[in-house]
Every structure is written in C-alpha cells, then in structure tokens.
C-alpha cells in the first residue's frame, strides 16, 4: 500500500484553546483509518482542516505526494475528499434526487442523475429510491443519501463522522459492508467514532488524539476495547456497576398514552403503557424517530394529555405543565442540549435556574436568589466534573460532553422521584459517558426511578434493569434486561410488542 494523505504537524488554535497541536499522521490508500479521541480531543477540527472548512495555523498536508491545502470544501471534493457529517444537511420536503442535485457543483439532468443514483446504490448494496421524499425516510436511509451523494463524486478519501450513532444494529452491518467494499475498491476511509468495538471490528489503523495531540497510533486488531479506551482517556476505565436490583413500589404509571405528534414528520404515540418502580432503571431502545422525542415531551409536561394517562404516585398528572411535574418530583432531560435542555446564550448559572427553580427554591416569591442559584450551578459543575472557567460562562461555550454532564447533573442533583433522560450520552466521550451512567445508577440505588431513552443498545444493556423498545410510537412490554438476546431485541424493534417472552403475557 502507498500513502494517500499525509498530515504533517498541523496546528490550529482558537482563542484560549489549542485544538490541534502538531498533529501528524498518514492514511494509506484503501485503508479504513480510525480517528479516536474524547470530546474536545480535536477530532472535528482535524477533519475540518482536511475537508477545507477550517484553515490550519501551521503545518502541511500532502495528497498523493502533492501539496494539498483546500481553501473550501468544494475544492476538497474536487481533489477527491468527501465527508458525511454527523448532522445531515437534507431538506425534508424534497426528494432524494433533488437533495443530491443541490449539493453538486455541476449537476447532470434529473433522469441521468436518477440513473446514476440507482447504479451507485446497487453497486454498494445501499438500496435507495431517488424519487422518495426525505421527510418519509428513517435516519438510516437519510444517511444513505448523504453517503451516495459523496460516492457520486468518486472520492479517494471518504470521511465519516460518528456514522453509527443513529443506526440500528442491522443498519450498522449494512454500512460496514459498504465501507469494506469501498475500501476494497481502493477508497480510503477516515472513520471517526467513540465506539471502540466498531473500531475493533472495522478499522485497519487507528490514530488516537488527546488534548489536540496524537498520543498513539495502533492496529486495532492487535488491541482490545479496554486498551483502546485507556489510550484515549489516558487512564483506567472504571466500569464497576451495582447490579443488585430490588425494585420498590410502582411510582410512575403510563396507561394507554396516546399523543398526536406536533411535528409533521414526527411519530405519534399509540397506547404506551408501563409501570415504573422505585429503584428501577427502564431502558427504552429503538431507532430515532420512533416517538422518542414525543415520549419525552409527554413525560416532561411540554405536551399535555389526558390526566389519567400518566400517574405519578397515584395522581393523574397528564394535564400538568413542566413545573407542576417538577414540584411532584418528575424531572427530565431532553436529547437536544443546546436550545432545548439549555439556552445557548445564557450562563450556566441561568441554565441551572431554568429547571432548578422549583425544587431548589431558587426564586421564593418570584425574586431570583442569585447567590443560591450560583451555588447550585457550582455544585453541579463540581459534582459532575464540568470543565468550565466558571458558572457565568454561556452554555454554548461548553463542549457537547461538558454541557451534557451539566444537564444531567442539574436534574440528578435535584433529587428526583422519577427522572426521564433522552440520549444521555449522545456524542459524549467514554469517560464522561461512564460518569453519567454511574450517576444514573446511583440515583436508582438511592430509590429514584429512571427511564433512559437511548439508541445505544450497549449502553442500555449496561445500565437497565428492565428494557423495552419504542417502535413506530408503540412501546413493547418492558421486561428484565438480563438475558435478553440481540435477536429478541431485533424482534421488538420490528414491532413485536410482546418481545420474546410470549409465555408470560
């Protein structure tokens, strides 16, 4: 094999932080190369420089021996470098072909393009109908659109940023098949991920970043998940988890919860029922877009429903708003950190007030107690190791992982009776994710009931006592997580509400 891209001591600083510090590594032609690192390690900055979105302060890149310094992404694409982002840029009201046309520098006519899309999708085992509306497609299918958009440009280097965070296990397998085939055809892939097992299964080489520097390079096949994690976080991974499960009385009960989604592309909830006991962690799996956001909104009180559909400690609370529910001990943490769980331009202190007001008594008689509010914010920062210069810093200035720790910490420290979290560790590095899971575990051990909605099955298997799947707005019957097999979960994802244990029902 010969070298495709050589990165030589690239550096990039932002005010107050060295995002990349003399980063050097090389990608071989046709290899799958992993870029691994915690949140804030500098992975995004590095690939943005390769893709021409960010200009390095110093250093150089060579693409097949030629100097390579793309001033903008379209130049990178011309040189054969493509990228699929974590967040897609697709218009829901347009078709696949229309979306792809929009991203092209010199688009062919519609019929020609449709034929091309069909050809490429067939070649790589990614079935896709060019005339379908994006709005009707699952996240996995949307990712296919992004991938095919890139493949149409015949890339030599293909960058993927956290591609599997939104996929089902089956979809992950399909994606891996495609990537291996690309690699066999000589396309190099730069694969960014937190998921160690994926890197072990897929990648030929790995470059590990920490605090903006390359700390290790390795061949994943010769490593284990633990050794990779150690290189990444620079210490031992602590995953001691209490597994004794002795549930108490039922505290939260959903009975035939029906709710029409406000979002035209959302999923309505249909007959969701469950009974949650003290000390229990219920993991709710399923692919994004199957009613997760709606379920959180119904539980948080952002959407009101018939009172009897939600019972908290025997009281019908479906008609109550978020603060009335907080008063009664039902807290929640939505998936979207910026703009939903937290206000971006407001300080951490103000964001602590955002949900902490009621239970922490931060505004008796309506007047904000600034001292108490700041104390609460500092308490969160300290207890959850949120890295920030202070509590007056705007929420948007924090990295995703740090803000997530703050958001979860804010709810946990209010001592909820019931806590509902959606995607608690999405986009969070391994160490922070472990800390968040540990905190949720501890909360349950102290007698609270917890619902964790997540797309990460490993995570759910790790922390849940009971498990259910949300599929097309319906919830499968919750059952003990212990001993569930991948096949059984697959069945539930397919819409089998009873799951595997039919006999019990």
């Amino acid at each position: 094999m010969s070298v495709l891209l050589e990165v030589e001591s690239l550096s990039k600083s932002y005010p107050g932080v060295k995002a990349n510090d003399e980063v050097s590594f090389a990608i071989q032609k046709g290899e799958i190369h992993a870029l691994l690192g915690e949140n804030g390690a500098g992975k995004s900055t590095l690939v943005k420089m390769i893709y021409g979105l960010v200009k390095p302060d110093s250093g150089a890149m060579l693409l097949e021996g030629q100097p390579y310094a793309p001033p903008k992404p379209s130049m990178a694409r011309k040189s054969g470098v493509s990228m699929v982002f974590q967040h897609f840029s697709l218009f829901e009201a347009l078709t696949v072909a229309e979306n792809i046309t929009l991203g092209m520098d010199d688009a062919p006519n519609r019929r020609e393009l449709s034929a091309k899309i069909r050809a490429v999708s067939q070649d790589y085992g990614l079935p896709l109908d060019p005339d379908r509306l994006i709005g009707d497609m699952s996240v996995g299918e949307r990712q296919r659109v992004e991938i095919i958009r890139c493949l149409l440009q015949n890339p030599r280097l293909f960058i993927m940023d956290e591609p599997t965070s939104v996929l089902t296990p089956q979809e992950v397998e399909v994606l891996f098949g495609t990537l291996r085939q690309l690699s066999a055809n000589g396309v190099a892939i730069l694969y960014i991920s937190h998921k160690l097992d994926e890197i072990l299964a897929l990648c030929d080489h790995a470059t590990i970043l920490r605090h903006g520097k390359v700390v290790a390079t390795c061949t994943p096949k010769e490593e284990t998940a633990t050794s990779l994690a150690e290189m990444m976080i620079g210490g031992e991974l602590d995953i001691h988890i209490a597994t004794t499960f002795s549930p108490g009385a039922v505290v939260l009960q959903l009975q035939g919860l029906d709710m029409q989604s406000k979002n035209p592309f959302g999923t309505s909830l249909r007959g969701v029922s469950l009974a949650l006991r003290k000390g229990e962690i219920l993991g709710i799996g399923g692919v994004a877009g199957n009613g997760q956001d709606e379920l959180l909104a119904a539980l948080s009180g952002e959407e009101k429903i018939a009172p009897a559909m939600i019972e908290l400690a025997g009281e019908g609370i479906g008609g109550l708003g978020p603060n009335e529910r907080r008063e009664r001990g039902l807290l929640s943490a939505p998936e979207e950190r910026l703009g939903h769980a937290a206000a971006p331009v407001m300080s951490l202190s103000q964001n602590a007030f955002l949900t902490g007001r009621i239970r922490k008594g931060l505004a008796p008689n309506g007047v904000i107690n600034a001292r108490k509010t700041n104390d609460f914010a500092r308490e969160i920062v300290k207890a959850f190791d949120v890295r920030t210069p202070g509590v007056q810093v705007a929420a948007k200035a924090l990295s995703g992982g740090n803000l997530q720790k703050f958001v979860i910490g804010r709810e946990v420290l209010q001592a909820p009776e019931v806590l509902v979290v959606n995607q608690p560790t999405w986009g969070v590095d391994a160490a922070a994710a472990a800390a968040i899971r540990q905190a949720l575990r501890q909360l349950a051990a102290d007698g609270a009931a917890v619902i964790v909605i997540s797309q990460d099955l490993d995570e759910l298997m790790e922390i849940s006592d009971t498990f259910a799947v949300l599929a097309e707005g319906r919830l499968s019957r919750p059952q003990p997580a212990e001993g569930l097999t991948v096949e059984e979960i697959g069945l539930m994802m397919g819409g089998d509400l009873e799951g595997a244990n039919h006999a019990e029902a």
Binding site: G321, N323, R326, H340, A342, A343, F353, I368, A370
Partner: protein
C-alpha cells in the same frame, strides 16, 4: 470577495461602545450631508447634537421629550427581549391618550386629586387593550404581531380623527377639530415636579416604572422567562413557560406603557387632543429601545439622545432652514449605524482569497 465570520467571543466593551459610535458616525455622515446641502456643517451639527444638551431652555425641554420616548421604549424592550415585536406603540399611545382623555373630559368641571390617577389607569388600560388585539390574534391564529400592531396604528389615527371631530370636540371650540385643553384645567393638568429639569409627574412615573422594569428583567423569575423565551423558545417551554402568557404579557405591558406616555403627553406638553396629536414617539421609541440595547439604563440614555435630535432638529429648522424630514433621516441613520456596528461586533469581515 468578503465574508462574515462569527466571532468566538464578541467584545463586551464594544457592545457598550457601539451606541456611542453610532451617534458619532451619524454626526460625521450628517456633516457630509450638510455640506451637500450647502449648510455650514459645524454649526448644523452643533445645533442638532450639542445645543440641546447645553442650552438651559433646551435642557428643560429635553426631559419633556425624552420621558415619553423612554417610557414607550421601556415597554417595547420587554417585548423585544422575548421576541415579541410590537411595532404599533404609536397606536397604543393614541388609544391611551384617547381613553385617559375621555375620562378627563367626562369628569370636566369636577375637582379632586383622584381624577388624574384615574385618567392614568384608563390610559394604561386603553393602550394595553390595543396591544392585546395583536396578542390575541397571534396566540389564536399565529398572525404576525408585527403586521397587526403596525396596521392598528392607522386604525387608531383614524379613530382619533373621528373622536376629535365628534364626541370629544370642545363644545366651546368654535367647531375646531380638537378637545378642551386638559393641560390648562387644574384637576387634569400634569403637575411639574422639577420644572428646571423638565421633570413632571409623568417623568417621575416613568423613572419609577423604569426601575421596576430593571428589577423585573434582572432579578425576577418572570423577567428570566421573558429573556428565555426570546433566546430559546423551546428551552422556555421546557422550563414551563407558557408562550401565550408571555405574548399577552409583553404586548399588554408595552401597550400600557405607550398608553400612559400618551396620557402624559396629552395632559402635559400637548394639552389637548387634535388630529396632529401623535408626533411619532411610538416609532422613535423603537430606535431608543435598540440604541439602549434593550437595557433600562441604556434606554434612559438613548431616550435623552433621541429627544435631543427632536429639539435640535426644531431649532435647526428655523435657524438653518433645514427640512423637517432631516430629523427623521438622522434618527434613521442612527439606527442604521447601530445595527451595522452590531454586526461587526458579532462577526468579523474576512477577505476571501480566490482559490489557486
């Protein structure tokens, strides 16, 4: 090619300096304009921008003009913070003056300390109700409050014209389309408090309300909810804020403030309701609110500056034969430069080199 790139950390100092810079730039560009008009720029700028603040008679007029501007801007700023764009303060100003004035005229001939406060309550209610029309339409039908509140200004103007030619016309006014003079009638006239400074009872009320607004926005949970709604509506819902309540509250409060300002203008500077009663304060107050960075203290300063341009403009009109529209041009320039500088604070201009 030029491109705007967001700055990581906009300078705090510049944030507070921009209003000053905007005023200075307006002076400079205004000077060029005067040269083009064949007027000595130094003297014109002095008359427009400096004289109002140093001449003692002008100084006493300054606060009279600034009070209604500040009062209206204060109300508007609360809404602007929440992303509720009340553009129709002018209409609420008129309706407040009409409601308060009608009460005063109905009680004509009676005496008592309670008459003026009662008129003030009526004015606040009148303005608030006029503001609540766009609020209800927005809550119920998601109609744009910008358009509805603006259109209601013209409805209010026509309503005023009808009233002063009809039921509110002075019986002994020889048929002129104007009301009795409430400013020359002891029980309905606005008392002066510090005449030398031009501070009357309206000015005092304005200062008290401004302090209340400051408290609301800085210290109170409701103010937090208002700011949260403006910054991040979804997070606001999550925090238990009811959007409809905030919309109604903001339009109601800003309407009430504008209505009160209308009454103070009526019972103070103007004296009587006429067709020409509205002077555009409701629109100028929008500039005041932004020039003051939607902050109560800033609005106080901005209100004084804008009031200065009114007084300076009047003086320049008869001393330099400056066209009356020049004042409006200056006020517009100020807002333009302010918004322009604001972009430069939050973004940096990058020159894109052509790709090689």
């Amino acid at each position: 090619m030029l491109r705007l790139e967001q700055r990581q950390q906009p300078s705090k100092l510049m944030l507070y300096l921009t209003p000053v810079l905007a005023v200075l730039t307006t002076m400079a560009v205004g000077g060029l304009l005067f040269v083009a008009l064949g007027i000595a720029p130094g003297r014109a700028i002095y008359l427009l921008f400096i004289d109002p603040f140093v001449d003692s008679y002008n100084l006493s007029q300054l606060f009279v003009k600034a009070s209604p501007l500040i009062l209206i801007a204060m109300g508007l700023s609360i809404g602007f913070r929440a992303g509720v764009w009340n553009i129709g303060a002018e209409g609420q100003f008129i309706m407040g003056a009409l409601a308060g004035g009608a009460v005063g005229l109905a009680l004509w001939g009676m005496t008592g300390w309670w008459i003026l406060p009662l008129m003030a309550v009526a004015a606040a209610l009148g303005g608030a109700l006029w503001g609540l029309i766009p609020a209800l339409l927005k809550i119920r039908f998601n109609a744009s409050e910008i358009l509805v509140s603006l259109m209601l200004v013209y409805v209010a103007e026509n309503f005023l014209a009808q009233m002063v030619q009809g039921v509110l016309r002075a019986p002994d006014g020889m048929g002129f389309p104007e009301s009795r003079n409430l400013g020359r009638n002891e029980p309905t006239a606005l008392p002066d408090v510090f005449p030398a400074l031009g501070i009357n009872a309206g000015g005092v009320t304005m200062l008290v309300l401004l302090a209340l607004a400051f408290f609301l926005l800085q210290k109170h949970a409701l103010g937090f909810q208002i700011k949260l709604t403006g910054d991040s509506p979804r997070a606001a819902r999550f925090a238990g804020v009811k959007p409809g309540v905030i919309i109604a509250l903001c339009l109601g409060v800003s309407g009430a403030a504008a209505g009160l300002a209308g009454l103070f203008e009526l019972t103070g500077a103007a004296g009587k309701l006429t067709i020409d009663f509205p002077l555009g304060y409701g629109f100028t107050a929008i500039i005041v609110a932004f020039l003051g960075r939607l902050n109560p203290v800033g609005i106080l300063l901005a209100g004084v500056v804008l009031a200065g341009t009114y007084i300076g403009g009047e003086n320049a009109q008869f001393m330099l034969k400056l066209p009356a529209a020049a004042v409006t041009v200056f006020q517009g320039m100020m807002l333009f430069f302010l918004l322009g500088f604001e972009i430069l604070i939050n973004y940096r201009v990058k020159r894109l080199r052509r790709a090689v």
